[in-house]
C-alpha cells in the first residue's frame, strides 16, 4: 500500500466529483425535431450517437483520472515496502585524500588501514566508501560487495586539495540517512582540517572510529614564488620542530638555473632570491628537497611572462582637484612602476561614454563618486558588474544614496547620515585575506589609518565583512552581484572623510585591492594559498580531540521516519510519474474531445 508525504492533498481528489456531477446534472436534454424526410437520413448516425456516448464516458473518465492523479502527485506517494534493502545498517569508510597524505609511504598506510576497516565491517552491514579533501565524493555507494570497496581504494590517490572534515562528515551523514550506521575515518587528523568554515556533523547514535595515519615529523613547503625582474623571490616554510638546511633550486625545463642553500629555524620561514638569466616567457619552478615531508608542496611554479597591465576604471564625481580620484590613481600608478595597471579616470558624465567593449575589458572599476553619473553611466556600471565585473565602491560623500541601487544593481542599505567617529582605525577581519596580506608585518600595520566619518551599513545580507572600524561597523565588505563581485568601502578614498589616502597604508591597500579585484575570482588565489599553506602544516590533533570536535545532530524516531519517508519518496519519485500520466490523460482528453466536436 502506498503512503503519502502530504496526505492532505488527497482531499483535492474530491475535485474529481466535479466532472461527474457536471456529467450527471448538466447533460443536455436531447432535442427532438419533427422532420419529414427522415427516410433520407442514414442509420449510421445512430451508431455515431452510441460512439458519442462512449466518447463522453471516456472523456469523463479521463478528466476524473487527471484530477485524481494531480491530487495523488501533490500528496507525494511512496511505497514503504521498497525501503527494506536500504534500511540495512551501513558502515561508511571516509578516506582522506588531501595533500597532507602525500608524504612517502603515507597513502600505502591509508590503503592498509582501509583494508583492515573493510574486513572489520560486520556482515550485517552494508559498506560505503567516501574520499574527501576539499570536497567529499561517494566512491562506492552502500553495498554488500566488499571487493568493490577494496578495489576502489586501490584506485584512490592523494591530491593537492586541503582537508575538510566537516564536509566529509556531512557526506557520510547523507549516505547513512535514517539507517543505523557507523563511520570509519582514515585520516592524518591534520589540525587545519577543522579550519574551513563549513558545516557538517553526524547524527546521534552514529559511532565513529578513527584510523589515524601518522604525519611526517616535519615538512618543508615553498609557500610563494614570483618573478621580480631578473630574479625569482620565493618563501620556504619549515613546519618541523627541527632546524632544516636545504637547497632551494630554480628549475626551468628540468634544468637548474640557480640554487641557494638556506637554513630555516623550526617552524620558521626563509625568503630566498634566485638570480638567473630568465627567459621572457614560460614557466619556472622553485623546488626544495624534502624527501620525508609532503611531496605536493615541495615545488611552486612561477609564470615568467610579464603580466599585461590590467585596465582599471575610476569613476569620480569631478575629476579636477582633490576629489577626483587623484590619490587612488597615484597609488595604483606605483605598482610595477606604472606597468601593472592602465588607469582611466572619468567623471560621471564621461563614464557614460565608455563603450561596452571598453568596459568589458576592464579588470576592475573603482566607483568613488556617482553624483554626476547619468542613467547611461549607471546602466553601464550595473551591467558590467552583473556580467562578471569587479567593482569597489567607496561610499564617501560623493556617492548619491538615492541612485546607488541603480549603479550596483542590488540593495545597499546605509544609515541616512554618516557616522562621525574621529580616530577610528581599520581592523582586518581576516589578516590572511589577499588585500591585507601586506599588513601582516608590523611595519605595514593598518593602525595608522585614521577615518573620521563613515557610513553605517544596516544590513549584512550576502556580504562578507573583510575589515571593520574600531567601533565595530563594517569598513570593507565583499559580496557577489550577478556574476561579478562588489567590494564596499564605507568611507571615502579622496581625503574628505579620512586621512587614509595620506597614510603609508593607502598605497599597498589600493594596489592589493586592485590586484585582488583584477584576479577576478570570488575564491581568489590567496584563499587557495591559505588552504595550501595550512595543508602543509603536519600538526595533528589527537583522536579524542577529533571525536569531540564532531558536531552531533539529534535524530528522533519521528524525524527519522519523516526523513526516511522523504528519502524514499525522493528515490521513487512517483509524483513525477503521476504528473506525466496526468498530462497524458489531459492530452488524450483534448484529442478525444476535439474529435467529438
Amino acid at each position: 500500500m502506498p503512503s503519502f508525504l502530504s496526505p492532505l492533498f488527497l482531499v483535492g481528489a474530491i475535485a474529481a466529483a466535479v466532472p461527474i456531477l457536471l456529467h450527471l446534472f448538466h447533460r443536455k436534454t436531447e432535442v427532438v425535431i419533427d422532420f419529414p424526410a427522415v427516410s433520407l437520413l442514414k442509420r449510421v448516425p445512430v451508431q455515431q450517437h452510441r460512439r458519442r456516448q462512449l466518447r463522453e464516458l471516456i472523456l469523463l473518465a479521463l478528466r476524473v483520472v487527471a484530477l485524481v492523479l494531480l491530487a495523488l502527485s501533490f500528496a507525494r506517494p511512496y511505497f514503504p515496502g521498497a525501503a527494506a534493502p536500504a534500511s540495512l545498517p551501513v558502515t561508511v569508510i571516509a578516506v582522506d585524500t588531501s595533500l597532507s597524505l602525500t608524504a612517502p609511504g603515507q597513502f600505502d598506510r591509508v590503503r592498509d588501514a582501509v583494508a583492515r576497516a573493510v574486513s572489520a565491517v560486520p556482515a550485517s552491514h552494508a559498506i560505503s566508501l567516501i574520499s574527501f579533501s576539499d570536497a567529499a565524493t561517494v566512491v562506492v555507494a552502500p553495498t554488500s560487495d566488499r571487493a568493490a570497496v577494496t578495489s576502489s581504494v586501490e584506485a584512490l590517490a592523494p591530491g593537492a586539495g586541503g582537508t575538510r572534515f566537516r564536509t566529509a562528515l556531512a557526506r557520510a551523514s547523507e549516505v547513512i540517512g535514517t539507517r543505523a550506521g557507523r563511520v570509519v575515518i582514515v585520516t592524518d587528523l591534520q589540525q587545519s582540517g577543522w579550519d574551513a568554515n563549513d558545516d557538517g556533523g553526524l547524527p546521534d547514535g552514529v559511532d565513529v572510529e578513527v584510523l589515524a595515519i601518522a604525519p611526517p615529523a616535519g615538512n618543508l613547503a615553498v609557500t610563494s614564488a614570483e618573478r621580480r625582474d631578473r630574479r625569482i623571490a620565493a618563501s620556504v616554510q619549515n613546519y618541523g620542530t627541527l632546524e632544516v638546511k636545504t637547497p632551494v633550486r630554480l628549475l626551468i625545463a628540468g634544468q637548474e638555473l640557480a640554487r641557494v642553500d638556506v637554513t630555516i629555524a623550526p617552524l620558521g620561514a626563509a625568503d630566498v632570491e634566485l638570480a638567473a638569466p630568465l627567459p621572457a616567457s614560460g614557466t619556472a619552478e622553485v623546488r626544495v628537497d624534502d624527501p620525508a615531508g609532503y611531496q605536493a608542496d615541495n615545488g611552486r611554479a612561477v609564470a615568467l611572462d610579464p603580466a599585461p597591465s590590467a585596465r582599471v576604471g575610476i569613476v569620480v564625481t569631478d575629476p579636477t582637484g582633490a576629489i577626483g580620484g587623484l590619490y587612488l590613481e597615484r597609488a595604483l600608478a606605483v605598482a610595477a612602476s606604472g606597468r601593472e595597471f592602465d588607469i582611466d579616470v572619468r567623471d560621471g558624465r564621461e563614464a557614460g561614454n565608455w563603450t561596452r567593449a571598453e568596459v568589458s575589458q576592464m579588470a576592475a572599476m573603482f566607483v568613488l563618486g556617482t553624483r554626476s553619473l547619468e542613467r547611461g553611466g549607471r546602466d553601464l556600471i550595473r551591467t558590467y558588474l552583473n556580467e562578471g565585473g569587479q567593482v569597489l565602491l567607496a561610499a564617501g560623500p560623493d556617492v548619491d544614496m538615492g541612485t546607488l541601487g541603480e549603479v550596483v544593481g542590488t540593495r545597499v542599505a546605509f544609515d541616512a547620515d554618516p557616522v562621525r567617529m574621529p580616530g577610528a582605525t581599520l581592523i582586518a577581519s581576516d589578516a590572511r585575506h589577499p588585500i591585507f596580506r601586506p599588513f601582516l608585518s608590523p611595519s605595514g600595520a593598518l593602525g595608522d589609518v585614521q577615518v573620521e566619518q563613515h557610513r553605517r551599513l544596516t544590513d549584512q545580507d550576502g556580504r562578507v565583512v573583510l575589515a571593520r572600524f574600531t567601533g565595530g561597523d563594517a569598513a570593507l565588505t565583499e559580496q557577489a552581484v550577478g556574476k561579478g563581485r562588489l567590494l564596499i568601502f564605507t568611507s571615502d578614498l579622496d581625503n574628505q572623510w579620512s586621512r587614509f589616502p595620506l597614510s603609508p597604508s593607502f598605497v599597498p591597500f589600493a594596489v592589493e585591492t586592485a590586484r585582488y579585484l583584477a584576479s577576478g575570482s570570488l575564491d581568489p588565489g590567496g584563499a587557495a594559498d591559505r588552504t595550501s599553506a595550512g595543508e602543509s602544516n603536519p600538526a595533528a590533533t589527537s583522536v579524542a580531540e577529533f571525536t569531540n570536535a564532531i558536531e552531533r545532530t539529534s535524530r528522533t524516531a519521528e524525524q527519522g521516519h519523516a526523513i526516511e519517508a522523504r528519502e524514499l519518496e525522493k528515490q521513487q519519485n512517483w509524483w513525477q510519474v503521476g504528473v506525466v500520466m496526468m498530462l497524458i490523460a489531459l492530452a488524450v482528453e483534448a484529442l478525444v474531445g476535439r474529435r467529438a466536436t
Partner: protein, 297 residues
Amino acid sequence: MAGAARYLDPAIVARLGTIDLKARTIVEGFLTGLHRSPYKGFSVEFAEYRQYLPGDDLATLDWKVFARSDKHFVKKYEEDTNLTCHLLIDVSRSMGYASGPISKLQYASFLTGALAYLMHRQRDAFGLIAFDDGISTMLPASARAGHLRTVLHALEKLETGAGTNVAKPLNDLAAAIRKRGMVVLVSDLLDDPASVLDGLKHFRYRGTDVIVFHIVDPYELKFPFEHAARFRDMETDEEVMALPGAVRDDYLHAMQHRIEHYRRELRLAGIDYCLLETSQPLELGLMSYLMTRRKVL
C-alpha cells in the same frame, strides 16, 4: 417585388384573409389573357352544323334541319369549359412541416387556390381531391360559378392527415376520369418514388396531361441543423439520432438524387415537374401551370 406582384410572396399571402382573397390576389396582375379553346363541345352557345357521321350522339341531331333539308346534321356548340382539371393536393402529415412562416400544406393550398381561381377565370372546369393515404376530400370537376367558392372553402378547411400514399388516389382517379384533361398534383412526394411514378404514368396512358408540383421546405433542401438531435419522422414517428454535421452530405446527396430521379423519370413520361420551395414566389407554380396548359390546348 412591387405592386400586385409582391402578393406572390407566400409569406405575404399567408397574412391575407380568406383563401379566396388569397387566390384572387395571387392571380391578380398575373394573368395576361385567356385563349379560347379550339375544342367544340356541348354548350349553350351554337357554333356550327356538321353532317352527321355514324357514331354521333343522336341527341345532337337537329331534327328541324332534317325536316327542311332531309339531311342529317348535328349541332355543334362552343364549349365554355375548355379544360377539365383535377387538382390533387397531398395532405399527409409530412405536408405540415414548416421551417418558416408557412407550412408545405399552406403553400400547397395557396398554390391550389390560385390555380383554381385561374381556372375559374379561364372558364375551365376544375375539381379538387385531397389525399393522404386515401382520398379525404373530393370535389368533382365543374365550371359552375359557385364551384370556385366550394373549392376554396374546402382548401381552407384542409388539415394534415396520416401518411402519404400517392399511388392509391392516383390510380383511383385515373380509373375514374373518362375525359382527357389535366391533372395537377401538389405534393411533397415523400412516398416510394416507383409507386408515385406508376400512378402518374397511369394518367399518361389514358392521355391525360399531368403537372407535378413538388413542394419542399428549404430545410429539407439544405438540412441546416447544427446540433445533434433526434429526428422524428412526421408520418411514421420513427426516430433517428443524428449529428447533422456527420450526415448532412449524405442526406443532401440523397435528396438531390431523389429530385433528379423524379425530374428525369417524369420528363421521360411526358409529365411536367416543378420543384417549389415554400420560400419561393407562387408565380413560379402558376407559370408552370400555364405553360403546361398551353401545350395541352
